[in-house]
């Protein structure tokens, strides 16, 4: 299983029946492929729909039906379309059960930076600040390091997305939960040692006595 699939499979385990879920671009998008059996979740796309379905077959595209990445999607039976104020009303009003986003850095306090690298890449925050500030549960899905550099750091050097502490960090090495006491190492990827996780993590981690294997469904 490659790193991205592992992360997506693990995140999918956090979803419960009836949840309203928003998936960011990149690894988070893959989560839709691994929803546990018997569970029905609703996907919101912040450009204005709940009940987004998969990419349409060629020739079946509707120019009025795209996802937040601008790609053609479909709408499942029971879907609902709405304007941007309603879409973010749902997000900011605390009605979104889970948002899964990519991350550039998460710090020891569980704060996320994921929207810009000053002087280098300034795409804009899009809906990220609203999602992290407003969702009931925020899951960061990202590779543990970038080009060998730890992404879980003592303090974010990149601009924060929100001062809200995220709820869970899922990487290709571990599952880490920010708590009042600090970052707790909750699960380890198959074949990964505690030493390796600590080595690849700049932030201090609280390491419980027993750490189960990552649940990947």
């Amino acid at each position: 299983m490659d790193a991205k699939e592992l992360i997506a499979r693990r995140v999918a385990q956090e979803l419960k029946d009836g949840y309203l879920v928003n998936l960011g671009i990149g690894i988070p998008t893959l989560v839709a492929n691994y929803i546990p059996a018997g569970i029905h979740v609703y996907f919101q796309s912040e450009n204005g729909i709940i009940g987004m379905g998969p990419v349409p077959e060629s020739g079946m595209e509707n120019p009025d039906l795209t996802n937040a990445g601008g790609q053609y999607v479909t709408a499942l039976p029971g879907a609902m379309a709405f304007d941007s104020a309603m879409s973010f009303g749902i997000i900011r009003g605390g009605h979104l059960d889970v948002t899964v986003l990519g991350g550039l850095q998460v710090d020891e306090k569980g704060k996320l930076a994921n929207w810009m690298i000053p002087g280098k890449r300034v795409p804009g925050m899009g809906g990220a600040m609203d999602l992290v500030t407003g969702a009931k549960k925020v899951i960061v899905a990202m590779t543990h390091t970038a080009k060998g550099n730890p992404k879980i750091v003592k303090e974010c050097s990149l601009p924060l997305t929100s001062i809200r502490t995220v709820d869970l960090i899922v990487t290709d090495l571990a599952v880490i939960e920010p708590t009042e006491e600090g970052l707790v190492l909750r699960e380890m990827a198959p074949g990964v040692s505690v030493e390796e996780v600590l080595k690849q993590t700049e932030a201090s981690l609280i390491v419980p006595e027993t750490i189960p294997k990552m649940r990947v469904g």
């Binding site: 509707n62 609203d130 407003g134 929100s162 001062i163």
Partner: protein, 217 residues
């Protein structure tokens, strides 16, 4: 409501005006009006929109054609030309969280003096903004946005100008229809009054100044 050709509609617009333009990565953007605006050679516009789409689509074309001095948007990452012009100092860009942008446009349309949001607190978004504390929680005071012209895309209009939007092409369009002095809407067809049931009209015709038929002119 008056039906105009796209040429006559763009004729009315003064150089340097503030334009609100509907659409999300080009979905729900009035392409015909955009093309006509480029053909007119008018420039120095301020554009308020969710994003600057792609270089060959929607608002992206205005950027590539260098008609825009300033952009207020949530995301510019899909258009490298926007980033280039910004870095070179040719284009001023104000980045606004998407939910805040929606609320600011809405506030401009419904007569609010501002709204309080937790989105952006403790991030670069708070720079220069008034903060208000309510029940020990900090909020940013975000101000309304208004425009001289709204350039919008709807699925169809009836002879009164009542508008119906379609799926994710709705996005910012209905919000902007309320926040501009002059509302110009590109539609795919005009239908008899009464064809759109009362509960399916998204924006009442009395708010629409001009309608341009985008497909079958």
């Amino acid at each position: 409501m008056k039906v105009l050709s796209s040429k006559d509609a763009i004729e009315m617009i003064s150089e340097g005006s503030i334009l609100m333009i509907g659409g999300f990565l080009g979905c729900g953007t009035p392409e015909k009006l955009i093309d006509e605006l480029i053909a007119s050679g008018k420039k120095s516009f301020t554009v308020i929109a969710n994003d600057t789409a792609f270089p060959d689509k929607g608002i992206g074309k205005l950027i590539v054609s260098k008609l825009v001095n300033k952009v207020i948007a949530s995301h510019i990452g899909t258009n490298p030309e926007t980033q280039r012009q910004m870095i070179e100092g040719e284009l001023e860009v104000e980045l606004v969280p998407q939910g805040t942008l929606a609320e600011r446009v809405r506030a401009g349309g419904v007569g609010l003096g501002g709204i309080l949001t937790p989105t952006g607190v403790g991030t670069v978004v708070e720079d220069g903004k008034q903060k208000v504390v309510i029940a020990d929680k900090e909020y940013l005071l975000e101000l309304p946005l208004r425009a001289d012209y709204a350039l919008l895309k709807a699925k169809r209009a009836d002879y009164y100008g009542n508008l119906e939007f379609s799926l994710t092409a709705r996005n910012f369009n209905p919000l902007m229809a309320m926040a501009a002095e002059n509302v110009i809407v590109e539609v795919e067809e005009i239908v008899p009054v009464g064809s759109i049931p009362p509960d399916s009209v998204h924006i009442p015709g009395v708010l629409v100044n001009y309608v341009v038929v985008g497909r079958c002119e």
